[in-house]
């Protein structure tokens, strides 16, 4: 892998940019691998990267039915934060946040991580109580999160309407200054390039259609649209399609898959300095470096694999955006799209071994897993390499739905519902 640097840009400028290499190969699948990762989203690619980098396991393939980064990784609104309520969540999301901090240097790839601050709005007494509880819990876990008055919130984000007569009055806000955004595609590409350089085969347009097991139940490999590929270990990292894949190995999952939509506006000059989320009226917004307002909506109410959602869902979100930021009422929206998110009953992910020997699963990130990409890949690689979880992901088991040791971020109302 040729390193990217200011010098490389200058050198290529002199040579008419003819010396840039392909960022990763497109190899034919080998007959077998030590580890196969199913799903070349950010989490799958990061897993492969850390398997090679930190555990020396390089005989690895990452398979995807489409193109790498074409799932939720390439469809999300890229909000990064770690101010979750419970200790277990704080552990895993802040592990990720710390990795975001050096990721561009580590990958030698600009993932454009921008800690511009994530503000969460409170509109009523209940919001104030819940968000302040988060601030205190976060501080106990050493995670930055602070309380802002409406005036302080407006100072941090000038387009915000804090009029007392607003339909959704702002009565306060939390701010995690280390939170922000990153370039989603670059995250997938950076991990892909880094993994490929260490010998990992990334095989696109290769759909997994079955998981082959020995008579004793141990994983032997996967059936794919390009034939059987053997593997000692298989990690399923397939977001919305996890139930479908795990069913192939006879494992029924505590998951439901829902459409989740986002949209972007026409590009405008820089106006929006941070990320603002409102769980109560349900809208979140930031501005991309291209100038588009990036707006996230809620899920549809029914399960689906269609990768499209109802128009009334994004309408509702735009209603809220226009109330909170009246300055945007005459903006035009350019594009909207949907992804399929895998939601667990407690809204926390599962990164664990499974009842099938040699089969591992990393799923359930639902509507909010982009922020966790580096941390998730990092501890999942550990889980696969050592056949035991890292202390950080040890609580995120599949068995917790039997034992009752839930990590109930849903009821903790990091999310309104």
């Amino acid at each position: 892998m040729r390193k990217y640097s200011a010098f490389a840009i200058a050198r290529e400028a002199m040579r008419g940019h003819k010396g840039w290499e392909q960022q990763w190969r497109s190899p034919e699948p080998k007959a077998s691998y030590d580890v196969i990762i199913v799903g070349a989203g950010g989490h799958g690619l990061a897993t492969a990267y850390y398997l090679a980098k930190e555990h020396g396991i390089t005989n690895v393939a990452v398979l995807d039915k489409g193109w790498l980064g074409g799932g939720n990784t390439g469809r999300n609104t890229t909000i990064i934060r770690s101010n979750y309520l419970y200790d277990e969540s704080a552990g895993i999301y802040d592990h990720a946040l710390k990795l975001w901090d050096g990721l561009s240097q580590d990958l030698n790839y600009n993932v454009m991580y921008s800690p511009r601050g994530v503000m969460m709005l409170a509109h009523n007494v209940h919001d104030v109580q819940v968000l302040k509880r988060h601030v205190h819990a976060n501080r106990l876990n050493g995670i930055d999160n602070e309380w802002l008055t409406p005036e302080e919130a407006k100072e941090f984000c000038p387009p915000l309407n804090i009029s007392r007569n607003a339909r959704y009055p702002v009565v306060g806000a939390t701010l995690q200054r280390r939170g922000g955004t990153a370039r989603h595609d670059a995250v997938a590409w950076g991990y892909a390039r880094g993994a490929d350089a260490r010998g990992v085969d990334i095989i696109q347009n290769c759909e997994v259609t079955g998981i082959r097991r020995s008579p004793e139940g141990h994983v032997l490999g996967v059936e794919t649209s390009r034939g059987f590929i053997g593997a000692k270990k298989v990690g399923v990292v397939a977001a919305g399609h996890t139930s479908v894949l795990m069913e192939m190995a006879g494992v029924r999952m505590p998951l439901e898959s829902y459409p989740l939509q986002a949209l972007v506006s026409e590009p405008i000059k820089p106006i929006f300095p941070c990320v603002v989320m409102s769980n109560t009226v349900h809208a979140y917004i930031s501005q991309s470096d291209k100038g588009e307002l990036v707006i996230g909506a809620g899920t549809d109410q029914y399960t689906s694999y269609s990768q499209t959602g109802g128009l009334h869902i994004i309408n509702h979100t735009l209603d809220a955006i226009c109330e909170m930021f009246p300055i945007f009422t005459r903006m035009k929206m350019l594009r909207s799209w949907g992804g399929i998110v895998d939601v667990t009953p407690d809204r926390s992910p599962i990164l664990a071994k499974t009842p099938v020997k040699g089969l591992y699963v990393n799923c359930g990130w639902g509507t909010g897993g982009f922020k966790a990409t580096p941390g998730s890949g990092n501890v999942f690689a550990h889980t696969i390499a050592r056949d035991e979880p890292h202390p950080i992901n040890a609580p995120f088991t599949l068995e917790r739905f039997r034992t009752g040791r839930l990590i109930d971020e849903a009821a903790a109302a990091a999310v309104a519902h």
């Binding site: 349900h282 909506a297 109410q301 029914y302 694999y305 269609s306 849903a410």
Partner: protein, 117 residues
């Protein structure tokens, strides 16, 4: 937005009048306190989440307020049919029967969820 036929009102109406209530034909034990942890997990948390034909419950919340069941394709989001609560699980020609028809459970809290980022 989906158009949904309420089998009680016998009318096709916009999704906004309805609340989805999750997978249908999940049987609630009449002795819930006695079931094993494994059976409770299966009943309470595990879902089929099929890519393809789903049997699901809906409630006509802004109409007759009654629960009913529907058969829908989760890839096209097209409804194949809706039928009244308590009626047996219809066996579709295209789909081999895996489990015996079961009585749908009566009522549970309708859920809604929002995105988190």
């Amino acid at each position: 937005m989906l158009l949904i036929r309420c089998p009680y009102c016998e009318e096709e109406l916009p999704e906004l009048e309805f609340r989805n209530a999750g997978e249908a034909h999940v049987v609630r034990s009449s002795h819930l306190a006695d079931v094993s942890d494994q059976d409770f997990e299966e009943f309470f948390f595990i879902r089929t989440n099929p890519k393809g034909i789903i049997y699901e419950r809906w409630r006509h919340i802004h109409g007759c307020a009654r629960f009913f069941n529907a058969v829908r394709d989760t890839v096209s989001d097209k409804f194949l049919m809706t039928y009244k609560a308590g009626e047996p699980k219809p066996l579709l020609v295209s789909e081999p029967a895996k489990t015996a028809p079961a009585k749908p459970k009566a009522a549970a809290k309708p859920r809604s969820r929002k995105g988190d980022a």
